[in-house]
Every structure is written in C-alpha cells, then in structure tokens.
C-alpha cells in the first residue's frame, strides 16, 4: 500500500469489496444531502483519488473531538475515513513521539506542499505571545501559522477550534481565539460541536476528497448538510412544544412523560446541528432523548450566554437588580414632579388671594 496508489485499488487490496465501497459512498452522499446521482460520482472520484495527507493539530482541547471520530461506534462507516486519508500527524493516534513526530509533520508538509489538509481541534491561546500552550517548544500560534502556510484547506473541528469554545469562555485567561481569527486566505470549514458529530467530520472530509472543494457552508462556515437545521426543527419532542406541554423540572411528571424541555433551558431552537436527526452512538440517542435539554454546544460562546439552564426567552442581564433601582428612581421623580405642581398651585392661589 502506497500513498500514490488510487484509493479504489488500495481498498480492494485490503479486502474492501466494491459493494461495501459503493455503500460507503451512498451513505456519505445521503449524509451530505446530495442528490442520488452524486453517490456514483462520489464513488468514482474517491476510487481514483490518492490517499489524502492530513495533519491534525491539537491545541487547547480535551481530545473529545478525536474520541468522537475514532470511537464513534465501532465498527462504523465513519471510521472508514481513516482508510481514505493518510493521517501524518496526530498526537493521540500516531505511533511516534517527540522529535520524530515533529519530523513527520514537516516531512508531510514538504511532500504534499499545497495539497495537504490541516485539521485543528482546540482553540489557540494568544495571550503572552502564545506562551500558554506549546508543543515541542513551539507555541500553538507559531505551529498553526507554519503548518497552514502551504495547506490546501483547513478544517476546524470542535467548538474550541471553530469558535473558541470553553478556553475562550469569560474571562478567557489565555487569550484563546478560534482558528478563523488566525487563518486567512485559505478555504476554512468549521465543524463545531462539543464534540462534533463523527458523521459531520467524515462527511466533510469525503466531500473534500471527492469533489476537491468544500461543501456548501453557512455564514459561520459550517457545512449546511449538517448545520442547516436546528435541533428543534428535527426534535421528536416538538409535538409537545406545539401543544404547550413542558417539563418544569428534571424529575416531574412532565419530564417522565417525555415532554418538551424548553422551559428547562433547552437551546434546541437556536442550535444548528444534526444531533436530532443522525443521533449519537450509532443512532441510539441524543441529549434530549436522554432527558437533558440541548446546551447549544455547536454555537459560538455557548458557555457565556446566560447559563445552560436559563430558558431561551428569559433575559440574561441584571433585570432583577435594575427593576427596584428604576422603581425607586421613578418614585423620587414622581414625588418631585407632584411637589413642583403643588408649589405652583399654591403660588397661584396666594396670588389670587392678594
């Protein structure tokens, strides 16, 4: 098996039947909501493509994104992505370590200049010259700049890489920023989520490999195929929302009956992701099905938006403090206005008496 071998040939040698390969292409095409004819095009393009060199950079992250893809539901179709790519650098999955690992990254950058894909998980700390996170003596900022310089495309996986995530949460001591703040002039795709759905990561990569261009993206650079609809749009509990049946606490009768979790802070109506339709662990379940509201993890600043359990229509400010202060101020103004009127009236009366 060599990287110059077409993928179709290589997979045949590894015992992957044509039928299984076509099934994979159809699955990926349907995941991406592509028309049926695209599955054949995808299969054809993939069979002729060479193994794609991928450099995976892990910065301020928890490895959940890698876990999501690598341990999605074994054996899974999402996992097959590892047969289609040459993962030349990845802290968790590579065999080598230390200088040899860094050597492998630089070797891949030289060998596939202008053609390799960079995947980033984790946000990038910029405070103090990027001192808060370094790999092999190189700050994350410097490593990102060096690696993306000759990349064909950059994919930010996970909310930390896509939007800053937890490291960027207030007060953001490390000055964490998303990849989009540092990478300019390259095709960039965000696949947020904490962690992101394995289907979204695999589907986006397969689309890049098959068609040589990113899939259709939304304003936040997320693939529309996976982030085109809200969790609420596809939630099986939506019927309860429409009927006005809501759980008031996590252990009341409504919660046991599976009623809508909107009043318990579910962010499903403003969260774009495919959890409700594709589900997790091989289609077994997703957070709302397990009885917990959506926390909106695939949206920017989800950690700082007034609390995970704060219902969506409620304010996030200081109104409980504002109202008494405003009432006291208004009452004082009212008393002053009335006193002024009484004073004028009294003055007019005394003038009349004279």
């Amino acid at each position: 098996m060599t990287d110059s071998q077409p993928l179709g040939e290589m997979l045949r040698e590894r015992g992957v039947s044509r039928r299984a390969f076509l099934k994979y292409a159809s699955y990926m095409a349907s995941l991406m909501a592509l028309p049926p004819a695209a599955a054949a095009t995808m299969a054809q393009s993939l069979a002729q493509a060479r193994r794609q060199s991928v450099i995976w950079l892990s910065f301020q992250e928890c490895t959940g994104c890698t876990e999501s893809l690598a341990r999605s539901f074994s054996p899974s179709l999402e996992e097959m992505i590892f047969d289609l790519i040459s993962l030349d650098y990845h802290h968790t999955l590579q065999a080598v370590s230390g200088e040899a690992a860094e050597q492998a990254r630089r070797q891949a950058m030289r060998d596939h200049k202008g053609k390799y894909i960079v995947i980033v998980d984790g946000s990038v700390p910029t405070a103090g010259g990027g001192v808060y996170s370094a790999i092999a003596g190189q700050s994350n900022v410097a490593m990102l700049a060096e690696t993306v310089e000759h990349a064909a495309a950059v994919i930010a996986v996970g909310t930390c890489a896509a939007f800053g995530g937890l490291p960027e949460a207030d007060p953001n001591p490390t000055g964490a920023v998303p990849v989009s703040k540092l990478v300019m002039g390259k095709p960039l795709i965000n696949i947020p989520g904490c962690p992101p759905m394995p289907q979204a990561m695999a589907g986006t990569l397969v689309h890049l490999l098959s068609f040589g261009k990113p899939p259709e993206l939304d304003a936040l650079l997320r693939p529309l195929a996976f982030f085109g609809e809200t969790i609420h749009d596809r939630c099986y509990r939506r019927q309860f929302y429409k009927r006005g049946l809501f759980a008031k606490s996590f252990d009341d009768a409504g919660a046991r009956k599976g009623w809508c979790l909107y009043e318990l802070g579910c962010k499903g109506p403003v969260t774009y992701n495919a959890c409700a339709s594709l589900k997790w662990n091989g289609g077994v379940s997703f957070p709302i099905q397990s009885g917990h509201g959506c926390i909106g993890c695939s949206e920017p600043r989800f950690w700082d938006r007034g609390g995970l359990y704060k219902a969506l229509p409620t304010g996030t400010g200081e109104r409980r403090r504002v109202v008494p202060i405003a009432a006291a101020g208004g009452a004082a103004l009212g008393v002053a206005a009335a006193a002024l009127a009484r004073g004028r009236l009294a003055a007019a009366a005394s003038k009349e008496a004279k």
């Binding site: 403003v270 920017p300 600043r301 969506l312 103004l333 009484r342």
Partner: protein, 219 residues
Amino acid sequence: MELLDFARGPALDFAMLVFVLGVTWRLVGVLLLPRLRDRSAPREGAPPRLVGALRAIVRRMWPRKEFIQVTLFSTINSYVFHLGLAIVVFGLAAHIVFIHDLFGLSWPSLPSDLVFGVGVITLAALVAALVRRLTHPVLRLLSGPSDYLSWLLTTLPVLTGLLATAQIGARYETLLAAHILSIAAFLIWFPFGKLMHAFLFAFSRGATGMRFSHRGVKV
C-alpha cells in the same frame, strides 16, 4: 446569535429600566397631585366615592346604547385586539417563562398553535384599527405622530412574534432577537405615549365616576 445576546441582555435591561422608571414617575406624579375638592352637597342617594369610581370603570367598558351604532366597529375591534394581546402575552409558554423569570409567577400555558391563531387575529385587528384611523376624517385629524408610533410599537412585537413562531423571513435566532428588540422598543415608549392608558384608564375613569356620581340629580 450576537444580536440575540444583545437583545436578551443589555437591550432588555435598558428597556426595563426606562419602563419601570417612566411608569412609576408618571403614576406617582399623577396620584400625588393635589385633588380638587368638591364642596357641593352630594346628591340624594349618592354612592360612596369609591363605589362611584368603580361603577364608572366597569360601565364604560361598553358604550351607552345611544352611541353603539357609531362606535360599534371600533369597540368590537378594540376588544378583539386587546383580548388577543392578553391571550398572546399571558398564554404562550415562552412569555410565561419570561414573566416567571422576572416575578416568580407562573401558570399553565395554552397550545402554541392556538396562541398563533389568536396572534393572527390580533394582527388583523390592529391593521383594521390603523386603516380606520387613516380613513376616518375626524380620527385622522386628531391623530399625530405619537399615535402612529404607539400603533407601530404595539404591532411590531405581534408581527415579529408570529414570524419567529412560523420561522418566516430569517433564521429563528434573528427573528427571536427582532421580537425581543421590538418589545424593548415598546417598553421604552410605553410611559411617554398613549400606551400609558393601560395604567391610567382606571384612574381617569374613576375620577370622572367619582365626580359624576356625587353631583347633580340621579338619572
């Protein structure tokens, strides 16, 4: 989503500040004004002043039969959109959650589809009220920019609320932000225009009732 954060946070805080300050200012200012003493002898069988006031508040909820013909449309249309607004504001689950967060009060909600239907009827009645204002020669003459602003700021929350529920025209978070911002604008204008009648109508009717029930002869 940034717009929604602004709407839920600083915009709503500022609107609430202006609303509470303005309403308290006007109410306290009006209620502390010196009262004109009525030194005339009460008419025969005059009710206590408070009863006279309460009677007028209730009686004037419907026009006297002499005026029904002339005011039938505006009376019924006003009832439609006032009741509609009450059902929408106090019946929708999202609004109850908002009120509960603010005052700790809660009650069962109505089905979303039912509230949506009421919202559509309310919007139609508000449009009808505007059309009448624009086409009725006397009403048009009496109307100023402040009246049209009051109409606009009452209608916008209904319209944006319906659009947000039906998800028409933009993404849900944008529509929700527009809805919250329109409510913020409504709250800011409320104490300074005729929207204040929601609080003052009872006092003005009551004052008239007190005076009328005290003087003259019983009709």
